[in-house]
Amino acid sequence: MSADPFDDLYRELILEHYKKPRNHGPIPTAPIHVEGVNPVCGDEIHIDMNVDEGIIKDIGFWGAGCSISQSSASMMTDRLKGRPASEAKDVMTEVRAMLIDGAPAGNDLGDLEALEGVAKLPVRVKCALLCWNVLDQGLTQAATTA
């Protein structure tokens, strides 16, 4: 990692996910729809998901926001699609620890590791967290409707 927090922020991987987001767009057949907005800046994330027998069969997102909020969502769906909901929870905990407490990224985060630099700019942490808070709602819904 470089000494300049700004170099760490806009890493290649983040820009790539921002410019070409994975799993982008609604999934009309998905039983779960959740959304969230960051009242401070107006960023918005919607997530459609299909959790079947504890597995995130399908997940898609859309919304409006900065490179951090959108790439975080893209990386998140990329990392979690096809994975068990329980694993999603673990990853969520790990990402939050990394962003909020500046904990080092574990090597099971994949691309999400690129968000490590965000922790150094507290004002942007909420951007990166938004999709995870929305996911949290989605997982809760999945658990209660299962």
Binding site: V37, P39, C41, L121, V123
Partner: protein, 407 residues
């Protein structure tokens, strides 16, 4: 024990002459002086970090936001509140009480409901309820006092009943010094299913304080009475209470979304902090709390008890002088109101001023209490951490002089 000589070094204002005498500042119940640590915090903020908070991405805005929210956490710790988000910054204690009257009262009270206060309240804890009574048709009831200036607990008990929705009382009287038995009152209030608002304007600055021990549901107090700057008050609400209340003032920072059809609100505490807050003074208030904590509140209390004892002894020895309020210095704060035969309080204050002694004279925003005491006004000396025994000598000298003038 406080090291008063060292403390006085921190208060630049004390080192001046007034009317040819060293300033003796005994008007601390009105407002306290500020240590250089607080003044420096203001200067440092404006010279290095000043920016509008919460919505800003740039470095100054981040720094300002962090320091502002830091004070919220300090305040929470200082009053023993579990959750910093239950702290709302207002302009002063008065606005904090008005906020409850509007955002809680208008929403929850209906005609015939009762709010119980007492006749020792400051106007700030009377008028908001009178205005609410006009708006909502509630009934305002007034607990009386015992002859020695304590809350008449039997009277209070008799007033609290099934129609009571709120009991709102001062913790420490700004005239009598009386410290009310708040935990007991909280018990009576909660047993009746009502809420308890505590006016801590005079107590939080001077006592070891824990909201939990008081049993209060709402707490109001002011920065300027506890070594902090003017323009900052605090409202604290017990967990969940503020969340359930609708907004009071509308504007920037207190919304989640604004549409033509209507708006939704930000979470507590932001919901109650509309518009640009008093950022600099909130941050400097944090320095005031640090300062008090460095002295430790038990030591502050001990120091003020000692001064109050001394002052009461010296004043009671003056023929023709009467002190209002409880005789026991442990049952009161560092506030001593008195009458001198034939000397009107305004004349007393002017003559004291001619000795460099700043005391207050008047109704002290407590006209109901003045009527009860049967006086139009009183003279009042009140203490803080930087006062010392010699200053009580100066006060006594001024009183003797006033007696001579009006002999």
């Amino acid at each position: 024990m406080l090291d008063v000589a060292r403390i006085r070094e921190d208060f630049p204002i004390l080192h001046q002459e007034v009317n040819g005498h060293p300033l003796v500042y005994l008007d601390n119940a009105a407002t306290t002086q500020k240590p250089r640590q607080v003044i420096n915090a203001l200067v440092r903020y404006y010279e290095t970090n000043n920016a509008n908070i919460h919505r800003g991405i740039h470095t100054l805005a981040q720094r300002a936001t962090e320091e502002y929210e830091d004070t919220r956490r300090k305040v929470a710790r200082f009053i023993g509140a579990p959750n910093a988000n239950d702290i709302v910054f207002t302009r002063n204690a008065t606005e904090a009480i008005n906020l409850v009257a509007h955002a809680w009262g208008d929403q929850n009270l209906v005609e015939g409901d009762e709010v119980v206060i007492s006749i020792m309240e400051h106007h700030s804890n009377i008028v908001p309820w009178q205005l609410l009574a006009q708006r909502k048709g509630i009934r305002l009831r007034f607990a009386g006092l015992t002859p020695d200036g304590r809350l008449d607990m039997d009277c209070l008990r008799g007033l609290i009943g099934p129609k009571t929705r709120l009991v709102s009382l001062v913790h420490m009287s700004n005239v009598l010094g009386t410290i009310n038995p708040v935990a007991e009152i909280a018990g009576m209030t909660h047993a009746a299913g009502a809420l308890f608002l505590l006016d801590g304007a005079q107590s939080v600055p001077h006592l070891p304080f824990s909201v939990d021990e008081t049993g209060a549901d709402f707490l109001a107090f002011s920065s300027h009475k506890m070594l902090g700057p003017t323009g900052v008050g605090v409202l604290w609400g017990r967990d969940g209470l503020l969340q359930q209340m609708g907004p009071f003032l509308g504007g920037g920072d207190m919304i989640a979304t604004v549409r033509e059809e209507g708006s939704t609100w930000a979470d507590v505490p932001h919901k109650f902090e509309a518009g640009t807050p008093n950022i600099a003074d909130v941050i400097a208030f944090g320095a005031a709390i640090d300062y008090l904590e460095s002295l430790t509140m038990p030591a502050v209390r001990e120091h003020e008890i000692a001064l109050t004892s001394l002052a009461m002894d010296r004043l009671e020895a003056i023929p023709g002088l009467t002190i209002h309020g409880p005789r026991d210095p442990l049952a009161r704060g560092g506030v001593v109101s008195f009458e001198v035969d034939r000397v009107h309080p305004h004349d007393m204050a002017t003559i004291a001023d001619s000795h460099g002694v700043a005391i207050r004279a008047g109704h002290h925003c407590a006209q109901l209490l003045m009527r009860h005491l049967g006086v139009p006004a009183t003279s009042r000396a009140s203490f803080s951490v930087y006062n010392e025994p010699g200053e009580i000598d100066a006060l006594v000298e001024a009183i003797e002089h006033a007696k001579q003038v009006f002999a």
